[in-house]
Structure formats: C-alpha cells, structure tokens
Subunit: 391 residues, 4 copies
C-alpha cells in the first residue's frame, strides 16, 4: 500500500481558469472540469460555454461562475479577462475542432495560457500559425491528448526510453469504437453531427477524432517519429460525409514499422485504444479499457503484468498516481494528470523558471504533428492508398 496521494496544491493559490465550450449538453467540457478538480490546481472563474449566448450564460450560472464573467462570446471573454486584474491565467478550449484555432489565437494574443482539446485545428496551416504564436508569446500550450496521462503509459514510455525493450521494431496502435455504426448524425445527435461535418471536424472524421489519439500515444510511448504512411480511409455508413474507419501502414524513422487502425464502426468496441510495442529485447502491451495494467514481456522470460503503483512501477508512473495499487484509477485521473502537469508548467512560467524536467504534457508541437498526420493520411487515401511522407 504505497500511499502518496499528494497532488494537492500544497498551499498554493489555485490557478484562475476560464473555459470556452462545454456548456449544457456538451461532452468533454464536464470531463475537463472533473479532471481539474481532482488535483485542485484550478478554479473555474469565467466562461464562454456555448456558441449560443443564452445557453452560455445559463451554463455558467449552473457552474457557479459569476454573472459578469459569463460571456456570450470567446472574443469578449478574451478581451475582458485580459483587462481584469484578477483575470484568468489560463483557458480551456473544449469546442468542436474548427473553433480551436480561432479561440486559441485570441487567448494567446491576450497573454493567457491555453489548454486545448485535440485535434489542434482543422488544417496544418492553422496549426503552424498556432505553433508560431506559442513560440512568440511564450505561453504554455497544452493539448489534451489525455491518454498520455495514464500512469502505465508513463511507465511504458520510461521503459522504452531506458532501453528495456532494446531497439524498437514494431509499434502497433488501434483505437476502436462502434458508436457510429449507424447514421447517428441523422438523428441530430450533437456529438455525431459536428464530427461528421467537414466544416466543423476538418478533412478527417475518425482519423482526426480518435486516430490522432492513437498516433500521439504511439509517438509518446515509443519516442519515435513517423517517416511515411499509407492510409485507406473508409466511409462505411451510407450518406456519411467523412471517414468512419482508418487503416494505416506506418514507417517510422530508424526502420521500425507499424499499423494503426482506428474505427468508429467496429461493433463490439466501446473505446478500445490499445498500444503494442516490440523491440529486440522485449515487448509492451497496454489497453485503455483496463488502464492500470501493462504487460511487459522481456524476451525469453516469463510475461509480467505490471500494475499501477505495484511492484516494478517506476517513478515516472508513481508521480502521476494518486492511490495505492489495486485501487483502479481511470480515464478521469489520467485526464487530471494532464491538468496537474499544466498547472506545474503554468506555475513555473509565472515564476519565470523552467518546469521540473519530469513534467510532461502534449504540446502545440504534438498537436501540429497530429494535424500533419491527418493531412498525410487524407492525402494518401485520396491517392488510392499511396505512400506519403509525413512532416
């Protein structure tokens, strides 16, 4: 029973946070709110919570946001908050994809740190602009590739980095869902509607929505960079405007190979994100459905099932773990870790220092890499599945 749950503020003032998107009926906004409450580093004090001003204000009221900080638009919010002495220090962006770029730019320009959901934008160009703006402003920019917050993913990354797997040969990722097996968007379901609409989702459907998570995870754990890919994007559901299944061959720099399969029509899968890495000396396997476990298979030795905070857990996993082994942490805790890391980075920025090197979070560059991945995959598929160089 390792007892180290100490991810509380330790007397620090909580960081003042605003949110764009995430109003009534939204999905990921409330996840972000739980996530940042878990470690208590942020306080939600302002919001432009909906594209519809009325709903934005009603939502803010429900969340206990003061009326004068319940904004009808993000532009107004960026302006007003930047002007307040007690204005927000950071903003969370949880709008559909097409509203990431414009919102992020507005807040960066206003000198406010940004925590933005994925995919970063809807085009590579917009992503590059954002990366440049981050560079210019020096603000902290965190992309919520939340799966990078799971302790066993940190463990996996550390094991690869320390050479436990030897030289990496194979990196295989999959992310399988089935919620779009039928034409849900035709029923008016909100989350399905924008995700299948190129104007709001971008050029990719499934590839952008979940393929980018799988891709980020593969890079995050393996430490590799992609060289080339070849993709077949499919739209299985008649009438749908974007891909709902994605199959990709990967050629990593340095010679490793891999495949990535993402699907929203793979019946029987709820949220099946899975990663396998094989090297000359060992293998790793992790599945999001049971995230407290990590299979480690050193070549020629018995298979090991590593558990979060259990025997063999590395400091890299321990520092993002809250409760003893055997007490499962889940999706929300992994998400919370992204916020805890963001808080550390923001506090360091406020203090004018570099954050502790142990602090890791997906950056605007990871977000940009995701956009290049989408772009390459869409191009490859349009060329009947041809090899396309990435990045």
């Amino acid at each position: 029973m390792a007892i180290e749950a100490g991810n509380e503020t330790g007397g620090h003032r909580r960081i003042r946070l605003g949110m764009v998107g995430g109003g009534q009926g939204a999905f990921i906004g409330s996840v972000h709110r739980i996530a940042f409450r878990i470690d208590d580093q942020f306080e939600l004090v302002a919001g432009a919570l909906s594209s519809e001003p009325g709903r934005a204000k009603a939502s803010a009221k429900e969340l206990g946001i003061a009326a004068d900080r319940a904004y009808g638009s993000f532009e107004e919010m960026a302006r007003a908050e930047a002007a307040r002495p007690d204005g927000i220090e950071a903003v969370s962006i949880v709008t559909p994809n097409h509203m990431h770029g414009p919102v992020a730019k507005a807040f960066l320009a206003a000198g406010i740190h940004v925590i933005c959901d994925k995919p970063l934008t809807t085009t590579v160009t917009e992503a590059e602009e954002l990366a440049a703006l981050v560079q210019k402003t020096g603000k902290v920019f965190v992309v919520t590739h939340n799966y990078a917050g799971y302790p066993m993913i940190r463990q996996a990354r550390a094991m690869v980095a320390s050479g436990d797997l030897g030289e990496i040969r194979l990196v295989q990722a999959e992310y399988l869902q089935d919620w779009l097996t039928e034409r849900l968007e035709a029923t008016g379901q909100k989350q399905a509607a924008w995700r299948t609409d190129p104007a709001r989702s971008g050029a990719g459907g499934c590839i952008g929505d979940i393929g980018t998570h799988a891709y980020h995870l593969a890079c995050f754990v393996s430490g590799l960079q992609l060289d080339e890919l070849l993709a077949q994007l499919s739209t299985f559901v008649p009438g749908r405007l974007l891909d709902d299944d994605v199959q990709i061959l990967l050629r990593w720099k340095g010679g490793a190979k891999g495949m990535l399969w993402a699907s929203q029509v793979a019946v029987g899968n709820e949220n099946g994100l899975k990663l396998r890495v094989h090297g000359t000396k060992g293998g790793l396997e992790w599945a999001q459905s049971d995230p407290n476990y990590l299979w480690f298979t050193p070549y020629g030795q018995p298979k090991q099932l590593l558990t979060r905070a259990g025997a063999g857990a590395l400091p890299e996993a321990g520092r993002v773990s809250r409760i003893p082994s055997g007490h499962p942490e889940g999706y929300l805790e992994g998400f919370a870790t992204i916020y805890a890391e963001a808080a550390r980075a923001i506090r360091a920025a406020a203090a004018g220092v570099e954050p502790d090197p142990a602090v890791i979070y997906p950056t605007v560059h990871d977000g940009l890499a995701g956009m290049k991945f989408i772009d390459a995959a869409v191009k490859s598929s349009a060329a009947n599945g041809a090899w396309v160089r990435v990045g």
Copy 2:
C-alpha cells in the same frame, strides 16, 4: 457515447465541510478530498487533520483552510464550528477506527451531519450508541463503504432486486490483499501500525479493515441479511496482534449460503474485492480490479459482459456514472458517488424533505451491522470456529 456527465451542483452553493484526520502522511483523507471534489458538492473549510496539533495546522494550511478554522483538536472544532454562522454543515471522519465513535458523537451532538469511514467503531456497544444518537438528532450519517458507489454494483443490486437472478442461493465474497505478508508494522509504517493494534483497530484486524467491506457489499447487492456465521480468523505473521486472514461460512436468512474470505497475506493480490451471486435463474460476478464490468449469466443463455454505461445498463447504474462506456471510471469515482449521495441527502435534510428514493448510501445501520459481523466472527473464531447467530 452516452453523455450525461452532469453531477455538478447545478447552481447550488457547495456544502461546507470539515474533516477530522487526513493530515500529512495519512492515506484515506486525501482520497475523501478527491472524491468530494469530483462532483463539486462540498467545500473543505475546516479541519482537525491530525492527532498532533502542529501537524494538524500545517496540513490545513497546505489544503488552503483558513488559519482560524485549522483546529488542534476535534472537540474544539465541533464546538467552534457549531458556533459560527458559516460553520460546517457536515464533517468527514477519516481517523483510525478507535477515533470514529468519539468524533462522530461530538459532531452529531453539535448538530452537524457526519460522513464517517468504516468500520463504524471498535465495539458493538459504541456503534449502537451512535445509531441511537443519529436517530435522536435526525442528522444524516453516511458510512464510506465506498465500493457501494461503483456503478456496476448499483447495476448488480438492481438486477437482483428486480428478480433477474431468481431466488438467491449463493453469495460469495472475497477481499484479498497482500500488503501485510510481512511484519510491516514492525517497520513503523503508519497504516500498518494502527491496523494491527487492538487498541486502535478494535478486536478485529483484517476482518474489520476489509472483511467489513466485503460483507457490506454482499448484503448491499444481494439484499439478504445474515443469520449465522462460522469463522476461522488466523494470524499468519509471527508477532502480529490481530488476524490477518479470515475465512467465514455464511448462512443467510431465507436459506442462501455463502463464504467470505478476506486476507492481507494472500500474496499476489493487491486489492482483490470480488463478489459472486448465484440464484435459481442467473448469476453475477464482479471484481473491483476491473470495476467497469459485470458478468451476468442467465441460466441456459450465453454469458453477458455488461459494461458501465454500455448496452443493458440500468438507470440505477446510469445515475452514478459520469462518462461514456469504455472510458473506465475507478475507485475515486465510486468514492465520489458516496459523497454525491451524501450531498443529496444533506440538501434534502436542509430543505426538510426526504431525499429522492433513488439516493442510496451506507447508513449508520450498515455500520452497526458491520460491527455485529466483526463481533460474531471474533466470537466464533475464539470458540474454535463455532456457529454464531448474527445481529
């Protein structure tokens, strides 16, 4: 992708909460704090966080509790808070077992609702006094048998209640750990030390610490009451003062049978709480290590793996679930549900109404039942494993 995460206050003011125990280096206190933050129903404003006044205050400071509400003793806290117009409405008690009863009495007497960890007290008599005091004061009293907060446990309970299993024949529970395989208490480890000390733990070691959780879960899901038990309590580690392994035969009222095994020396088990229920028409199986799943096996039909918020999920599970199926919720979310239910009960009490009948939480009576269970098991074992009537 069912999207119903709405366990936020909906505009309500957060309930003012105090905490006794849970200071620096403590285990479950920080779990309680994460748990109540998740659904944002409580605000921690006062505390007597340690038996040692200095540590109590330092801990309070770290948690952002105002200096004048960082108390050196729980008696002082009960008195002072009761006197404040903005005094706490509820207190969380997260001290070792022997300090549950005294603290709970003090706060009940001061007119403050109580959320108390398990086991309820160290003796049946003290538990009965507490039950009487709850009755007299009319205060809300919640025991944090947190496993009752897991959605799939709610699902299981609802399925049994609705007759999906037919008449119950067998209820088997186990709760296995291995952290006391060696004499950890001799190293000075805090949590091991008091748990193996009769003066602080009570007459039971393992039986009180985790056996009561398994017992509560068995009752909670099956809806049955225990008639008789026969126990063999063992102390495997030389020099240990209390049992570290417990094996019990159960005779439920109405004719069902069962076994309960709890161990803290079952090497290879981190926190292996498991429940199996078999009736004339079907069976259920649930394991805390992967809490988002519930096996349902209707007799003569294929086995079904029910998933949290997945197909077949009942409203009883849905109302305590925060995120879509496939996104694992864990221990902290289950714990959070106990707090969310407590908040509903406290708000109802404040409004002078009964809570919604859907609201369920372990009460002082469940706590008392747990004490009777410990008492009977200890007596049975002392009588070389004889049948003892419970309750």
Copy 3:
C-alpha cells in the same frame, strides 16, 4: 518453439487394455479412449461396456473390439481375460461410483492392473479394502484425477516443492458447475440420474463428484495433508436426494488454512476448477478453464504469467507437454498424461523395476484420501457443520 512431442511408444508394443463401462451414451468412457489414444500406449481389445449386455456388445462392435472379447459382464470379462495368453494387461473402469469397488476387486484379483475413475468407491471401508488388495497384489492402480495431468499443475506442484512459495499459508480450491441448477435428474438424463442417487453415487453428491477433484488437486499441488474440516453441504434443488453445493473450511497439517467450494448450481460456471496457493514468499493461481496458464506472484515482484512450455517452464511440466507454447493443450491432453504415466508404471511393473521417479499419478491412496474427505464432510455437515478430523 520447443519441439519435444515424443510421447509415442518408441517401438514398444502397446499395452492390451480392457474397459468396463463407457458404452453407447456414456460420458467419460469415450474421454478415456481419446486420452489413451493420444500417446498411443494402449490398445483397447476387450470390454464389458455397459450394465446391459446387449448394449455392451453393440458398443464393443462399434469400437472394433472382437466379438469374443465383448463381454456381457465384468465378472465374465475378468475371468476370461485372465485366462487368455493374450489377455488384457490393464482395465479401465468407467462405471458409476458404486461399481468401481466391485469391478476393481475382480480385476485386481485376476492379476490385472487397474485404471479407475473417481471417487474411488462409495464408502471408506470399501476403499480401504481396495487399498489393501492393491498392496497385496502389487498391481498398478491409477485413479483418474485427471486434472493432475495438466502441465501447469505439474509446474505448480514443482514450484511449491522447490520452495518458490516459501511456507504455505493458504490453499483455496473451488470447482463450480451449473448443470444441475434445475432438476435434470427428473428428466431421466443418465449422468444426472445416478449422480443424485445415493445408491449409485454414495453418500455424497457434488462433494464426491467434483469436490474430490478439487480436494485432490489442492493436496497434489500443495503437498499438504488435511487435518480437520468443517463442511456445510446443501441441497438447493427441491426433491434432490444429495448435496449440490459444498462449502468447507480446511485446516491443513502444519498450520495452513483454506476453503473449498464445490457447486453444481453456481449459475454461469461450466467447469470452473480453480486453485490458489499462497505462501510466505509467493502465490500461485490456476484455472482449468484456461489451463495453459499459471499465475506466479513472487512477493514484492511483478506478477508473472507462466505459460505451458513457455519461458520458466520446469522439466516437470515439460515432460508431460506435447506441443510448443501458445498451442493450447486441453482437458484431453491432461487426461492423456494420466494414461501415459500409467503406461510407464505398467511397463516398469512388467519389467520388475520401479518406474522413473518422475512418473506421477494419483494412486489408490489418493482415492482413499478422497473417500475420507467425503466421509468427513458428510459427517461434519450432518452435525450442523462441526469440525471433523480427517483420515
């Protein structure tokens, strides 16, 4: 890819075998036949395959047994075969329980080795007589506690014996089925009918049918002997004449404890035999449903999943394994191993030597121990669950 499949005769003549029971419509007889064919050590040349002479002969014909060796009764068969120069060397007894003793005695008396299914007899007395007769005749006597043939069970036994688990503290066994959840015997189903009939099954139902398997396995792996037990036998199905559920507390010689649960009404379980052993240094867990795996959990180290013929497999497992790891062996192969061991013992007996010490099979003494176990459990239960000394 370890490639050692060499369990063939190596030029030896196959042992001439007879069978009693196992005619048309019987269950385990055909399992025995597949089992002994797998390693090709036996040749079936004679049989009294049914209690009904006509069926016995028809069955023999189907199996290619010569007409003059298709007997109408086992007495006739024992007599005739003993008289033939090419008479059977061994007999397999696959009749219901009450016909094990009489048949075994007849063949032992005729100087023929015996392979007999479990439970050994229907009474302890008859079992003791059989043990005495084996002693007197010096014949090989094998009881088909077939689960002792699984490679990972051999592995487990060897690991315990070599001290990998330290001193054993806990031995927990369960054997769960659900095929008698309803009153199948009332439909005339053959296997259910005799198993629930005290005249043919003996004083125990579930305890004899599957409880003895679980008990044998627990002893076989742990190397422990039972000191005392306390049992509650239940008959859940109205009208049934024998127990269909068995729950037992175990006190092993030397201080280890344990529980044994066997049930034929545990809905959702097909043939759920499971064993867990925990010592001061490590734990083991094995389940018959996936028999090629063995969990090994050395204290304070990562959990290991050992696989049949995989890394870490010991010679004790390797010598009873036929195909490379990852190619699942199952129930029939485990059963075949009992026959392969029997063949080794019989060949050694024929040569007048001791078999290789590596050869292990359940003996008449194991069968007798099983009968004492049944007897003690029945007595304990009849005394309302009292402690009864075993053996």
Copy 4:
C-alpha cells in the same frame, strides 16, 4: 453437460495411412499423428519419414511401422504402396514446403488421397499444377489449415453465413509469434533453418509460414474473397534471408476492408492467432490462445461470450466438439477435426458418393489461394508497398 463425444469409427475399418516427413526431431509430424489418433479414423502403416533414409527407417521402427513399409524415399513409397493390395489409401505430407508439391504429385498420380500441410507449394505455378491434378484424379486433397478445425471457428463461420453480423465491413487478422526474434537459424535449429531458407520455404518466410494461416482463417470465417492487397514485408533480424514480419492492407470483394499482421519477432507472443470480424449488425472476436471462447457483440446489446458446447453453440460447432463445455479442447483437437473431416471425405469417395454437406475442410483451392496471397504480398512489398490484385 452435453455429452456427444462420438467421433469414433462406429465399427468402420480404419483408413490405411502413410506419412512423408515427420521423423525423429521433426515438429508437425507427431502433431498429425496425435491428431489422427484422437478420433481413431486412421492407422499409420507406412512412411518415408525423413529425407535421410537411415533416420526414416529408425523413425518408422519407433512408430511401429512394419520394416517393409519403412521407405527410404517417398518415390519408392508411392510406387510400392500403390502396388500393394493393402496399400495406403491416403498419405500425410509433413515435409518442409518445397517438398509438398513433388510428394503430393507422386501420390496423387499413384491414386492415393493426400493430406498435405501448408503452404501448399513454393510457387503459384506448382500449386496450379497440383489443383489440376486433383481435378484430374478426383482424389481427396486436404490442406491442414488446422485452425479451421476449432469449434468456435466453425461457430463464427456459421454465424457470419447466417447473417448474424449483417453485411461484413471489416475483417482483421493477426498471427504473432516471437520465436524468431533472434537469429535462431544461425544456431542450426532445424525448424528455423528451412523456414528462413528461400530454397526450402519459398519466396515468403513469415508470410508463408503463418501469414497463410491467418489469411485462410479470415476467408474461412468471413466467406469473403480478397480483391487487392498492399503489403510491407520486413526482415528485422540482420542476416535473415526472408521476411519475419508482414503487414498488409486488405480490400475484400464487395467493399469490406481489413488488415493482416503476421510476425515472428513480436516479442511476448507465442502463437497469437486472432481474428476480428465486424458487420453492420454485430462483431466477432476469437483468439487461438483461448480457443474455446468466441466473443459475439450484437450491435446495441450486451457483449456475449460464447463457449464451446455452451449455450448458443450451433450444430456446426457441436459436430466437431468432443467434450462438454468448460472442458477445454485445444490445438490437437482442432487438428483432429481436419483429419475427421478428411476421413469422412475419403470414406465417401470410397463409397462413390458425395460427403455430407456438413463436412468442411481446406482444399487444394484454399491452398492455391494461399499461394496467390503469398505471391501478391511478395510482389507488393517488392514494389515498395503497392496495391496488387489477388487471384
């Protein structure tokens, strides 16, 4: 407890069988021998068991083959056996790949039925010649794609065929091993040596050795035919002459998509053959490591875990199942089913009738399809991963 184990000859004479390959130290020959003994339909009476005449004869002696039928070469054997009145009716070919074609041709030409291991030959041309010869001679020709013998694979095939999955969209196969992670062939290990030698293995290494199994399984279950593929074949181990990892994108006729990954360097995998099929109405998932289970996930309903011979098992699975559910059958039983089906086909041929339509086995056409698959994959990979039409 479904008790139908009846796959015995029912009084039939056993079919006289010869074997080419499978001598001392060989792998799959002894598997074939166990397999055909399980259901007792064949009797091994002749053999040319090794490329080396001395070893061939010694091996034959060990197997109890009469000296005059222990041949030094397959040519001699085909000739001599064809001339005997009691000559073999069928031959099993278990030589390395390059010796399948020549041997098969010799026996077909001699009027003897053939059971041949995979891949069929080393070139498409040779495979086509064989198919033509089968057509011409009318002999039974069985390819031991043994995984098609697993009951749950039969179940899966029947479910797809009956429309339980709706229209198929996705067929994903993988076959992962790790035994060639290092350069085992350099140590002289026999099985590794020829498998990595183009002269004996053919143009494909991993793709031919295990990729063809995965491909056959995908076709067998889905009922689909492949239209195009795109492959990247890798050789990760320095100095190796053939591919040890294969990643393929699949385009099935009718619009379904898929991926196939086969590897012999995926550390942590022993023999990880896995198939997933997803349609408009449901999904299936099966893994060879636990072959008695099949996941069935009807869209919008709870996941079902179907078990061999359990509730929901179809007749197509039942007829190839030997023992009750919960008693695991494994690799050898699945292999045995191929032989049992072969026996049915051979007996029908002897009787001059068509076999029962329920009889299914991989034919020379499946073998030919496998060769076209290898050929296309090798070509695609050589063209830097280009789309190649199959067949």
